[in-house]
Symmetry: C2
Subunit: 386 residues, 2 copies
């Protein structure tokens, strides 16, 4: 197709070149113990693959953090300009990967499975098996609602995700009331991240379908008090929001109980009692879990911080004692042994013990990673509301 | 950070190389009449920019269709390996763009605004102005719900998006009932596409907030009878779904009226009458609009096919006559004058006239493009339910 000069009236350019359409490729291809990745890049000089199975950095802020170098596997150019490489299929897990085209990060656009972590897009290699069995495959799906609610505590309207389980909408269940898990995200993330990176709806769908978890509502708020919603939408919070958040670091904590819980309890068929409320979160969200339960003891009967730590400061210990006094049904904390938060999690474990508070400290190998957040979620959900 | 050998136990490789973290860039930067795009690519040989303002192909299946070549602007490498180019800021519009890194398509990951069209991810350049004023900027947002519903007509459960307007959840409105627009997508798209590419929630939010459109519910189903949901989710329909769809090409049309409307009318506060139902769609969705209104005359009082054509076949004309006989309030069709569907749209216009059917044929320049679908939506919504 020839290009008309008129079409470029708005583009100031001295030279026009064209790029031929890429060859169609199928990627990735899992074939038993071998997995092959391909990308059409006939003009590239160096093409390589990075996969999360290669990560030495046990931090979910992984290989694209400034100044961190990543390991890659060089790919081989085929005759038709399609580059490929074949690796031993990694163990069952939700891995992520990308290509580097002459040093530039590129997802695998032949692959529809993609995750968004901030502005990073990661292609997904989902290797089936026991560990990953709940990351897809459910045939009974709940609904995922993107909900705007008024948050007077912060002074503006904000967005959260609300998952309602399969069957919630059935007329047969119209008198049924459900328990609620408030699931909080980590630093640099937003209300979309637990779903995008954590596969929440797939995991909850599967566990409910298998009868291993109670049908429940899952609320995923935005834990950044300077934001109205995921920055991905580019819908700014009002002027002054960031400053307010800086001046009062507990605004979001208060909004969980004063704005979000009342909204959920007046808009969804839930049981408005502590025994039907769970709160959990990863990293900063684990910190929020500790803060909100200390600030509002007796509000949540199920308390499940992940990837965060405690301390022996007087206020912190008093907060735990307040929770003990008010009562709870489950205190379940989790951290990987390579997690930088692990030492702090051990302190929390010890302080709970020292204060006579029944709890479970779930640990496994690995670090501050989405692999572990998904595994922890999978472990924790069957324990709730029972 | 040195890389340990142990971490590569699962990757079979003969050589390991590393990729340094990219420099942070800000892109795009709209500065009055100049717009600059940048990407860090120190190892690349050729970097160029493609923008939709450059498209000569007036088809929304645009420049990445097989065998179509695209025009690009070469970018200039700066000293720090950051490539950039500056263009005259295009006219107000939602444009899309990407880079080519040594011939490989790469979105602009410095830019959070992104659209998904199938597996294609396009970066968004939103140039503010009159034409684009409703593509963002609303401060009163409706909710967007991802809803799974049973579709007995097709034989399996399927997903659709349901937008409820700002205020729908307010207790003050709990007795208010709303009209419904059923908004249908084009070929190769899915239930996510009208939102992702068409900016539906932004447009409807803005028009409602400005008092130019009636508060309404917008239902966006998946029009591919072989799919349970967007292929992006990789949740397959049951075996046999594709074959059923092939054997009975009207299954989806019937499901709109037999499965989707009843679901909406029993789960949302709507007025279950034809005067409170509109149906519209682009391209294949326009075809679905024509089919469902012919098959179920009198079901929808507002009929708004876009980018599709009619004919003078006996069945088609009889279908229109049935609509006339049953009654309707608005018949509004739209097509760009460069659209390959424009001749057929003119035929539809003529046949409506020949049969004494009041209607509006909205035309403008441009083709079968998302630019036009958004503009048509913006024109059409204020006409509904009045």
């Amino acid at each position: 197709m020839l290009l008309s000069v008129a079409a470029f009236a708005q583009g100031r350019m001295s030279h026009v070149s064209v790029v031929p359409a890429p060859a169609r490729v199928v990627s990735p291809v899992i074939d038993g113990t071998k997995t092959t990745f391909s990308i059409a890049a006939p003009q590239a000089i160096h093409v390589s693959l990075h996969g999360s199975w290669m990560n030495t950095n046990d931090n979910c802020y992984g290989p694209l953090v400034q100044d961190t170098q990543v390991g890659v596997i060089p790919m081989t150019r085929g005759e038709n300009g399609v580059w490929s490489c074949t690796i031993e299929t990694p163990a069952p897990e939700l891995w992520t990967y990308n290509f580097y085209i002459d040093g530039v990060y590129v997802p695998d656009f032949a692959n529809p499975l993609i995750q968004r972590d901030g502005t990073r897009l990661l292609s997904i290699l989902l290797v089936p098996g026991k560990l990953s069995e709940n990351y897809d495959g459910a045939t009974q799906h709940g609904n995922l609602n993107q909900v705007w609610y008024d948050s007077p505590t912060l002074g503006f309207e904000r967005r959260m995700y609300v998952y309602t389980p399969y069957g919630y909408e059935d007329k047969a269940n119209k008198k049924t009331r459900y328990p609620v898990l408030y699931l909080l995200h980590g630093g640099g993330c937003d209300e979309d991240t637990w779903e995008s990176m954590g596969r929440v709806t797939a995991i909850v769908d599967n566990l409910i379908q298998k009868g291993q978890a109670k049908p429940m509502i899952v609320v995923m708020p935005n834990g950044n008090a300077s934001q109205s919603c995921s920055p991905f939408l580019r819908i700014p919070a009002p002027d002054g929001a960031a400053e307010s958040a800086r001046q009062n670091r507990n605004l979001y904590i208060h909004s969980l109980v004063k704005d979000i819980i009342p909204y959920i309890e007046s808009h969804y068929r839930v049981v408005p009692k502590p025994e039907y409320r769970a709160v959990s979160g990863l990293s900063m969200g684990g910190g929020h879990t500790l803060s909100v339960t200390a600030e509002y003891p007796g509000t949540f009967a199920y308390i499940c911080p992940m990837g965060c730590g405690g301390n022996r400061n007087e206020d912190f210990v008093k907060g735990l004692q307040g929770i003990k006094k008010a009562g709870y049904k489950l205190y379940w904390l989790a951290a990987g042994t390579s997690d930088f938060a692990y030492p702090g999690a051990k302190v929390l474990d010890e302080v709970l013990t020292e204060n006579g508070m029944q709890h479970t400290f779930y640990t496994k190998d690995g670090g501050h990673t989405w692999s572990n957040w998904r595994i922890f979620l999978n472990e924790m959900l069957p324990l709730l509301f029972k």
